[in-house]
């Protein structure tokens, strides 16, 4: 056997992943999105190249590609070619700059929300899976955690949203938290299942026999093996977090100004659907493209990481 034939798991996964044209284009879009989001933060807030904040009331609701009226405003600063590339909104702000600024916020909401959900989900699922048989008083840890998961699943989402909006001062972090804290239950469930099956797997039993510490077993042996499905669900989770933020915006519980997010640009834009359709369709399509990209990448990963499915090909 030559060295060439042994592929590292990462390379193998990549070779499976890259077979799907959709997944690859999704990945390219995501890479592009990250660039956009970072430059959005840098170019609209740190070095103001695109001005997302200046209100120019007389120039409101201009369609995309309109020339900015330079007579009334000495500064065409903050515009590309002196034009509003994606038009202006109801206060005369540049939609292009706002979308750019929003991309960073939307993306970070997605990432942080999923981060929170993963931390909670993995720790609770892991605890239940690994220490499930231990008892606190008369209740098994597993029972306790899994019943708590049931309780969380039992509340309708809008109720949980109200809870967080009500109990914490409203801020962008709480939107991240509310989305994260209402979506960890799935992760917890399958991490538990994965741990339960790994607990009895040969290599774990062997490690135990060799006297490895519990922490070592958990973090060296079990977590890496359970990580693949977690990774997939995280990718899909970002997609649904971005959608959840826009749904919250629609119901009036979303991220508040001064932060622009794609969700609140879209939900503000809906009242102007007849007067300024671009306020509605630009963020709508942006969300579609990005969420779709996350979903396709997640799907590609799922296929590539699933050994069982791989075998048949």
């Amino acid at each position: 056997m030559t060295r060439k034939n042994i592929k590292s798991p990462v390379r193998e996964t990549w070779s499976h992943f890259s077979r799907s044209w959709f997944s690859v284009s999704g990945l390219i879009i995501l890479a592009f999105l990250v660039v956009v989001a970072v430059s959005g933060k840098v170019l609209t807030e740190w070095f103001v190249v695109f001005d997302a904040e200046t209100v120019r009331l007389p120039q409101k609701l201009l369609p995309p590609m309109s020339l900015a009226n330079t007579n009334s405003f000495d500064e065409t600063k903050g515009l590309l070619f002196g034009r509003y590339l994606l038009g202006t909104d109801e206060l005369g702000r540049d939609v292009f700059a706002r979308m750019l600024q929003g991309s960073f916020v939307s993306l970070s909401i997605g990432l942080f929300a999923v981060g929170i959900s993963l931390v909670v989900g993995i720790s609770l699922g892991g605890l239940a899976g690994f220490y499930g048989d231990k008892k606190i008083g008369i209740i098994r840890v597993d029972t306790l955690i899994m019943r708590f998961t049931d309780v969380m699943l039992a509340f309708p989402t809008f109720f949980l949203i109200l809870t967080v909006v009500a109990l914490l001062p409203p801020s962008i972090y709480n939107i991240m938290a509310v989305i994260g804290l209402t979506s960890w239950m799935g992760t917890a469930r399958f991490v538990r299942a994965e741990f339960l099956s790994l607990r009895d797997a040969d290599f774990v039993v062997a490690a135990k026999a060799l006297g490895a510490s519990e922490m070592r077993i958990i973090f060296r042996h079990m977590v890496p093996n359970a990580v693949a499905p977690v990774f997939v669900s995280a990718t899909l989770g970002v997609a649904s977090a971005i959608l959840a933020e826009s749904a919250l915006s629609f119901l009036g519980f979303g991220v508040r100004p001064p932060y622009a997010t794609w969700g609140n640009i879209l939900s503000d834009g809906r009242s102007y659907i007849f007067d300024a359709p671009w306020l509605f369709f630009v963020p709508g399509f942006a969300i579609l493209v990005v969420v779709l990209a996350f979903n396709l990448v997640g799907e590609g990963l799922r296929e590539a990481l699933n050994p069982q499915l791989r075998r048949t090909k």
Partner: protein
């Protein structure tokens, strides 16, 4: 053995229900804000009136007493909405009946579409169809539902000129029974498709992966090697075994009725449970919020109970755990 398993599952859930009721009550009442009837920022309202209203709603009592009042009134059936002083349970029941057709047709669409799509994609794995259906189903869940709802409404109204909002066409009371029925069916089409969209995407992917898993199992190979034709193998042997996990899904679908379609109901002016809950939250109508959430929680617990039972019946190994 079986009996013991059921009683344990049941008592656990009753205890859970009690716990949920306490948490829900505490959270709703600890949240800042008061019912919109108590409007301290309205200069036309005198402090005496506000004190009077707070007293009538028991808002001046300690939390545990308010909880006791809630449970007592709920059990007696005396619980009244702050908003219109109507009894809460009949109110919820009325909305439940309105949400039911939407839920039913939506579920029908989900299950009808997901199975053929999912199975076909699994059988022809990697084909153009498979990739297209993957892309299509993800595209469907990648749009905010209200975006799609507006586009759909405007498209239908502009191109076909027929009403789509509400549960029925307004002013059709004198038409014949059959046209009124068909009219109600028509008004179900758009909202139920929209609320089914996410379900179709998720379930069809799930069916596909279940089928893929089963297709490789030994008994399917055996069946195939016996020389049975491919359709029999897939639809008889494979599908039957792939169906087992879907039993759980039946139970978990119940609570989606309450919170699942707030946005669709809001846009389509559909007088359902989701809208009732949303408006109650905005008005801080505590009795309605609490009862609605409690019912949703009970439904979930009932759902998980049913699915546990079904599972236990279908797969005896579970009981021994």
């Amino acid at each position: 053995m079986m009996f013991k398993y059921f009683t344990r599952a049941l008592t656990q859930r009753i205890f859970l229900a009690f716990l949920i009721s306490i948490i829900a009550h505490a959270v709703v009442h600890l949240a800042p804000g008061e019912p919109s009837e108590v409007d301290p920022s309205n200069p036309l309202m005198k402090p005496e009136d506000i004190a009077q209203i707070r007293m009538a709603f028991h808002l001046d009592q300690p939390l545990y007493l308010q909880y006791a009042y809630w449970i007592r009134d709920l059990v007696n059936g005396d619980l009244k909405s702050f908003k219109d002083s109507q009894p809460v349970l009949p109110k919820i029941w009325e909305r439940f009946l309105n949400s039911l057709p939407l839920f039913f047709v939506g579920t029908l669409i989900v299950w009808c579409l997901s199975f053929p799509t999912g199975i076909y994609a699994a059988v022809n794995r990697g084909s153009k169809y498979d990739r297209l259906s993957t892309f299509g189903s993800y595209a469907l869940i990648s749009l905010p539902s209200f975006f799609l709802a507006y586009v759909a409404i405007l498209w239908v109204v502009n191109n076909f000129g027929v009403p789509v909002l509400g549960m029925r066409t307004f002013g059709l009371e004198d038409a014949s029974g059959i046209s009124r029925f068909m009219d109600r069916v028509w008004h179900l089409v758009l909202p139920s498709f929209l609320s089914a969209m996410g379900g179709v995407a998720v379930l069809s992917r799930y069916v596909r992966s279940q089928m893929l898993e089963v297709i490789d199992q030994d008994y399917v190979r055996t069946a195939r090697s016996k020389g049975l034709d491919e359709d029999t193998v897939i639809y008889k042997h494979a599908l039957r075994n792939a169906l087992l996990p879907f039993i759980t899904m039946f139970g978990l679908m119940l609570p989606a009725m309450v919170g699942g379609s707030v946005i669709v109901e809001q846009i389509f002016a559909w007088p359902g449970l989701g809208r009732l809950g949303y408006e109650a939250i905005l008005n801080r109508d505590y009795p309605v919020i609490l009862t609605l959430n409690f019912i949703a929680a009970l439904l979930t617990l009932l759902g998980t109970f049913i699915s546990d039972v079904l599972y236990a019946v279908a797969d005896p190994r579970i009981r021994l755990q």
